[in-house]
Symmetry: C2
Amino acid sequence: MKKVIATLVLTSFAGTVVAQQGLKPEEMIKFRKAGYSFMAWNMGKIKANLEGTYNKEQVIAAANVVAATANSGMGALFATGTEKDVGGQATRVKPEFFKEQDKVRELAMAYIKEANELQKVAATGDAAAVKVQFGKTGESCKACHDKYRKD
Amino acid sequence: MKKVIATLVLTSFAGTVVAQQGLKPEEMIKFRKAGYSFMAWNMGKIKANLEGTYNKEQVIAAANVVAATANSGMGALFATGTEKDVGGQATRVKPEFFKEQDKVRELAMAYIKEANELQKVAATGDAAAVKVQFGKTGESCKACHDKYRKD
């Protein structure tokens, strides 16, 4: 029951409850790390476009990944049992993350909002506006990392 | 020069040339594995919806990840130097993948087409149509796995 409640609360980030896939804790950790890692590649591409030659289509494609990832209901991958290294999967999430759900939800909602805005701004092709929104999106990532990610 | 050509050819999957991020081969392998892994979670969610209670919003969110991933220009992550395990990153891509670029492009384009169609069909909320298109998308993944992925 505790697990179900944690899952429901955390998945409310994205407004959906993830169907039961019967994932093991180590699979959840693997998938969430994969999501953040792939998103990091896409954030890096946007950064490279802003610092070099701006390719509108590439920035749109990257921003679509960032937004889709933000809206994918990743909260479900932080269920009970994933607070610590398990089954060969290491996690850098601090234990407080699992105890401060109001704060976590606030940070998650802020990140989803900025990622959605980044997707919208990218579609316009306005590099200056993308630069501003890219900064805000990065800040929303960092807010959670600073508070809940071990270095 | 060889690396640049390989990158250009492979990135033509997605119609974009990825900005130079100066990634190491092991970083490319890490990112491509992350992309496929996170996509697998999202394909798994669609499957769970089709086999259990269908949640339209969750399927849309998952299909958005699949399509965004397909269109993200992952071909750039298969540059020269990533044909084999490097820097602690193992790869299951067969060597032939790097030599048969016409076939690889054909499979990649088919996968992008099916993923984009899945995104469109998911938006309609028609579970029966999603089931058909989910099958086609899975087949397009499998076509490449069967030919170019080591088990």
